[in-house]
Each structure stands twice: as C-alpha cells, then as structure tokens.
C-alpha cells in the first residue's frame, strides 16, 4: 500500500483485510475526490483475487492428479513437452531468455527438464520467464513446483494445514512442518515465487 493513498482508499483496504466487503457506494459518497482511486482499488482487488483462485484451482488439480489418479506430472516433463510442442531447441529457449535479460544456457534448460537442478535453486523470476516463453500457465507451473517441493503427504493438505494453523497458532505450524520434514526455507521460497508470479 503506498503512502499517498487517501483516507477513502486506506479505509477500503482496511475493510478488505478485516474480511468485510467494502460498501463502495458509501465510500465514494464519503470521499468523492477519491472515486477514481477507489474504483482502481476495487479493480485491482478483483484481479488479485482472480490470481489467487487460479492458483488454488491449479493446486487442486495437481493434488487430484497426483493423489487420486497417481498421474501427477513433473516440472521438467511439462517444460520439455511444451518446448517440443513449440518446436524449440534448448538453446533457442535460452537465447530468448537471454534476450529478456535472464542469463540462461541451453544446458541449463536441459538440466531443468531432466530434474538435475534442484527446483529451489532456480530464481523465481526465471520460472516466471520460462512459463511465459513456453506458454505454460504461471499457476500451473506454480502447482507443479509446489507439489514437487512438498512431500507426498503435503500438497493441498499442506496448504490447508498451513493456513489453518497460522490462523490459530504459529508455533504449532512451525512444529508441524518440522515434524513432516519440510524445510522452513521451502515455505519462504514458495512465498517469494508466488509474489513474483502474481506480478505483471
């Protein structure tokens, strides 16, 4: 939230954080000079919530595919399949990434596809670029990465437990994660990746 927001927009976000649906007409009546900014905040919130829903839907899909059908995909397989579908060689993908400002080699692409590079060693902006270059939905890629970085007992259940325990008892959450063996930095990495993928 920027500091130059007026009182109307500040109130809008305050209500959203509290889980209360802002009464937009009342806010606009109370702060007519901020009407355009209030509409902008409302549109921004709608878009941000869309990103969150799509993320949840791709996570749910990955969970059902992996847990119920036993046919979950991997990040490497997906990237390779998309690269083939677009008729690109690893070096061509790397060249496009370099053109976009990311220092990647064709060999790096191959290593990513074959799973020889730990996923959490890849900077989040690189995932975002690869998703866009290879036409993989960002949240599809997110769900694959999250699924692979979490243990088989985690996935969607992990997401639910994380949210539930964070709400109630942060200590219990940390304890729960270490009990399942998921390193705490995976959580940070995923949070960082989520922010990067959500940005334009």
């Amino acid at each position: 939230m920027s500091e130059d927001q007026g009182p109307g927009v500040r109130r809008y976000w305050e209500l959203v954080r509290q889980g209360v649906e802002p009464d937009l007409p009342a806010l606009v009546r109370a702060h007519p000079e901020e009407a355009a900014q209030l509409a902008g905040a409302d549109v921004a919130r709608s878009r941000s919530e869309t990103a969150a829903t799509r993320r949840l839907l791709w996570e749910a899909r990955q969970h059902v595919l992996a847990q119920a059908l036993g046919s979950g995909d991997t990040v490497g397989e997906t990237l390779k399949r998309q690269r083939f579908a677009l008729g690109l060689a690893p070096e061509q993908v790397a060249q496009r990434a370099r053109d976009a400002g990311q220092d990647l080699l064709g060999k790096t692409i191959e290593n990513l596809e074959s799973g020889r590079i730990p996923l959490s060693n890849v900077p989040p902006p690189t995932w975002k670029l690869l998703a866009d270059l290879l036409h993989v939905d960002r949240w599809h890629l997110w769900a694959l990465i999250k699924s692979q970085l979490s243990s088989p007992r985690t996935g969607l259940a992990f997401t639910r437990m994380e949210r539930g325990t964070k709400r109630l008892d942060r200590g219990a959450f940390v304890e729960g994660v270490s009990a399942r063996g998921a390193p705490a930095d995976v959580d940070d990495y995923l949070e960082n990746l989520r922010r990067v993928l959500e940005s334009d």
Binding site: V16, R17, Q18, G19, V20, E21, L24, P25, L27, V28, P32, A35, A36, L38, A39, G40, D42, V43, S46, R47, E49, T50, A52, T53, R54, L56, L57, W58, E59, A60, R61, H63, V64, L65, A68, L69, D73, E77, T78, R81, Q82, A85, D137, W139, H140, L156, T159, R160, R163, G164, R167, L168
Partner: protein, 246 residues
Amino acid sequence: MPRRFQRPPEVEAEWQRLGSPDDEEFWERLAHSRVETVVAARRKYRDRGRSIIDRIDGILVAKIDPLVRAATRNVAKDEAPLYREDIEAMIGEAFWREVLTAEDTFYEIRCQRKLRNVALDARRSVIDAKARTLERQAARIEPAAVEDVAPAVTVAEEAIADPVDDFAEVEAEIDWYVALVSMPDEVAQAIDLHYRADLKVHSNNPNEPTVSKILGCSERKARDLIRIGEELARRQIEGLPEGEGP
C-alpha cells in the same frame, strides 16, 4: 449409480460443432464455449495425451475461476478472506475429483448450479471446523476465562445456517465484480463506478459525481465504455462467442 442428464440444446449444439483437438479451430471454439462444453471435452479427451489435457485444463480453469469466486462470495461473503480461500480450495478439489474421476454428468449440464451446491457443502465443512476449533480452544482455557470465549462459539454455530439459497435470482444477475478481471483498465473502471459504486453516467447537477466526470471524458465516451463492459461481462457469464453478444 451415476446420474445421467440431457444436455441443454445450446450446449449440445456447441458440442456437435466442436470438432477434433487435431484442428486448430477446435481450440478457438473451445475457448469460446460454455464451461459445460469444456468439461465434456475434458472427459472425452482424457486419454489423448498430456499436451491436450493441459491445454483443455487451462481453458477450464479460466472458465470456472469466475464461477468459483461467485459461488464462494455467494455462500461466504461475510467470512474472513482466509476462510473464503479454504472454501475455494475445497470447491476446486471437489470439482477436479468429479470431473477427472467420476461419471456424474451434472457439471456438463449446469456447471454453475453444481458449483454453488458444492460451495454450500464446503462452507458447512469450513464453518463446522471453525466451530470445533473454537470449542477445543475454549476447553483448553482455564474455567475462569471460558466465559470470554463462549460467545465466539455461539456466533460460529449461528453462522452454520445456510446463507442465500435463491440461486435462480443470483444466477440471473451478472456479477460485475468477477467480470471486471477480463476488461481493459478504462472499461473496468467505468463499469466499477457505474455498477459497483452506483454512480450515474452523467448528471446535470454539477455537484454530483458521475462516471464521465470522474473519468474526465464525455458522456458519450462513458456510455461507450459501459456498453463495452456489459458486452464483455455477458460473454464471460454466458460463454458467448465473439459477435453473439447482445
């Protein structure tokens, strides 16, 4: 026993002209089809390879995202954002489980109605869990302090009652908030000001804020932006292809 339903004529017509995933036109048609048609395609082509199902699922996610949000907002508009996320996650899981593994065809007939029923179930589960958690917390607290927690449990239990169940009315209205996502910035802002903030497009009263004044444009331009937004929203809600709008 799986329930079998007959597709509505408009869905059946879409399905008949869809064609094969080997043709690029199939994808163009599918992207502009109703969500029910996309679900049917997902089931029919489930064994056609990962590239095809990933591509269909990408279209499906884009189609059901606004429906899931609308269903969640309908059943849990007064809940905290985290609970709404829980409900959305549960709807998502129930949706995929049924579409990918079950035979029930109702998602191919009236997807939005089905999602809303699933949303009601998910809401009950989430609110039940919330009430149980509060009860456990209350039980752990020393007897002297239980009195302070008890009202919260009561509130949670009261909240279990079903919310709005007038689906017909809800389905008839266009959810402008959800539709804003697919609109260009200027159009989204005009729609937001008109339908969400309840402002008139234009007014002769110089002191009344209106869409045209706030956007700094003519009345005609403001009306054009709103008309474009309405058309985009209807296409999104009804799944109408280009050129078939009102």
